[in-house]
Symmetry: C2
Subunit: 210 residues, 2 copies
DNA sequence: GTATGTTTGAAACAGATGTTTGAATTATTA
DNA sequence: TAATAATTCAAACATCTGTTTCAAACATAC
């Protein structure tokens, strides 16, 4: 009980702090202070800071993976041979993402930031962790997109997929900052759902360009 | 002579290392070792690490700023009252970017990675630096985009602008890695120009969605 | 209740970090 | 050339980093 509680509190604190400050900028002392646990607890329960970062990621990755797999399986059972549109595919992904991150507004941002870092940090440990863990899901989604955009050349489709990923990862990971600017410049507040509502049509139109 | 040389060598080394590893992950000792200068030189010439980071940025943004200003001025003189299309605006930006980073293939990626890092790393002193220092250029480009997309609501235009920025920053900053995958999966090599050639139509279609 | 294994706690560890210092070197100028 | 200013350099600075240690507290099973 106490063990599980300590682990959860560390993950919760680390999640928020990583999203606010980044990984290297967040020290274990800051995390354990926020979590209200002893400094040594991180190394005792996770082994290292690196392993903690992966554990924070895994807590998103696992449920997200299962959720989207199940929902795609269900849809294919219910409507076999149906060809999903780009909008449908994006909705599947967005819904799984929303379900995984629901409850805490910041969880979508850190998920996206982790995603971006895994892609960008050249020799980082996160990308390999992600690639091995995500490979089958990536291929499945890519196959769906290919069916939805048969007119595209494979190479251009590949790039457009990553343009989509980039637009999503970049904006959602720094959503707090961007929303603050919106509030200052336009005197309007944007909910997370509204931003996603803006995002999906942009992505769909982009991948269908020309 | 020696002064200027030292300053340049520090900036060159820092530029590459920041892009490879991030800001917090790159130590002054690594930078000065790569630059072949003494450790104290950074604090002597720049004052602090924070100031060095801003100086690295300024070296890109300064020329970029001037180049795009001049080319827009020229165009407006030559074709007064003309309304630029989104494609035209993107071409202006892309050409200025290409000119600023020309000579070194990696500088575009470095520039984009720095931009991405600036947006979602650290406590945001870089974001503020960017916002205050290049506010007029941002406003000018935004005004051009507004004229090209009169049907858009200001808030949605703002978000779509950052979707574009994200798609560009994310993909161009990890271009080496993404290109390697293309080569492996499709047996095709992509030049930098080809990727930009894929990118611009995607962005233009995205911001004009629906 | 005693013994066993698990978890916490305060303290220390070894190393890296940005920064400062003051003397030595180099460049500039009169 | 002599005086002055600018720059380099090795060393030390104080602080922060992730990690380890080992005794104390706790839980669990016999």
């Amino acid at each position: 009980m106490a063990q599980n509680d300590t682990v959860t509190r560390i993950l919760d604190a680390a999640e928020v702090l990583f999203a606010e400050q980044g990984f290297a900028e967040t020290s274990l002392r800051t995390i354990t202070a926020k979590a209200g646990v002893n400094l040594a607890a991180v190394n005792y329960h996770f082994g290292s800071k690196k392993a903690l970062i992966q554990a924070v990621f895994a807590r998103f990755l696992g449920p997200f993976y299962k959720l989207i797999e199940v929902s795609l399986d269900n849809h294919e059972k219910q409507y076999p041979d149906s060809v999903l549109s780009i909008e449908d595919i994006l909705k599947f992904v967005a819904r799984a993402m929303a379900n995984v991150t629901e409850g805490d507004r910041n969880r979508l941002a850190i998920f996206m930031r982790l995603l971006g870092l895994a892609y960008n940090q050249g020799q980082g440990h996160l990308r390999k962790f992600l690639q091995t863990e995500y490979k089958t899901l990536y291929r499945r989604v890519m196959a769906l997109i290919a069916r939805a955009t048969p007119e595209l050349q494979p190479v251009e489709r590949y790039w457009r997929f990553h343009f989509m990923l980039g637009a999503a990862a970049f904006t959602l990971s720094s959503m707090e900052h961007l929303r603050a600017i919106v509030e200052h410049d336009f005197n309007t507040k944007c909910t997370e759902e509204e931003v996603v509502g803006y995002l999906l049509p942009f992505l769909a139109a982009g991948i269908r360009a020309k």
